[in-house]
Symmetry: C2
Subunit: 119 residues, 2 copies
């Protein structure tokens, strides 16, 4: 039996945005629709494969919409659905927090690497 009941709202969000790059994709689409290649440049370090895989999953989940311009060579754009837009709005406070604490977080990450090196 697979339980699909969530104990708190957070679990529901994680069910949608679980995936290393998904929050970033939604975030970048918040400022308007983008071509696949643009997203690849915006989302740091994503491989093309992972980008496309996550785009497909987000499309299937109704968070984003795929717009195929039916051209050759291909021209495809992605944009947020209303559902995705509501998600993006809620992501905004997270971004702010991150921007605010960016130095602190950078130090934490640095410290982690330091500890890892010691072992």
């Amino acid at each position: 039996m697979t339980e699909t009941k969530f104990r708190c709202g957070l679990e529901a969000v994680l069910a949608i945005l679980g995936g290393k790059w998904k929050p970033l994709i939604v975030y970048h689409l918040a400022s308007g629709s983008k071509r696949t290649g643009q997203l690849r440049r915006l989302v740091t370090n994503v491989s093309e494969k992972m980008l496309i895989q996550h785009l497909k999953e987000l499309t299937d989940d109704g968070v984003i919409r795929r717009i195929d311009f039916q051209k050759v060579p291909p021209h495809v754009e992605y944009e947020l659905t209303d559902f995705g837009r509501s998600l993006a709005q809620v992501l905004a406070p997270l971004c702010e927090w991150g921007t605010h604490h960016i130095d602190e977080v950078a130090m934490i990450v640095k410290k982690r690497e330091h500890v890892a090196k010691a072992a």
Copy 2:
């Protein structure tokens, strides 16, 4: 060269809360300090190992604090630091979104399973 520069605040947040259970742990600690065993019951489906591993990482990152009551058998509690509390606050809108869209998300997850079964 490992880059520790974030392109947007969101990446910083993900650097801290990356890990399947970390957001949930922070969320549950927002309502007060908890014993390890309590957390294990609150965070659905975590294995003891992952819980402890994530607790340790969050402690190292300064998000939570470990309080050892120096007793035998052991009694340990975890609580948010100020840093962690600020994170928890920003997580709240996410929870609300999830609570709001919980039925929609449940359907999405169900649909996913359906598609997976077809293959």
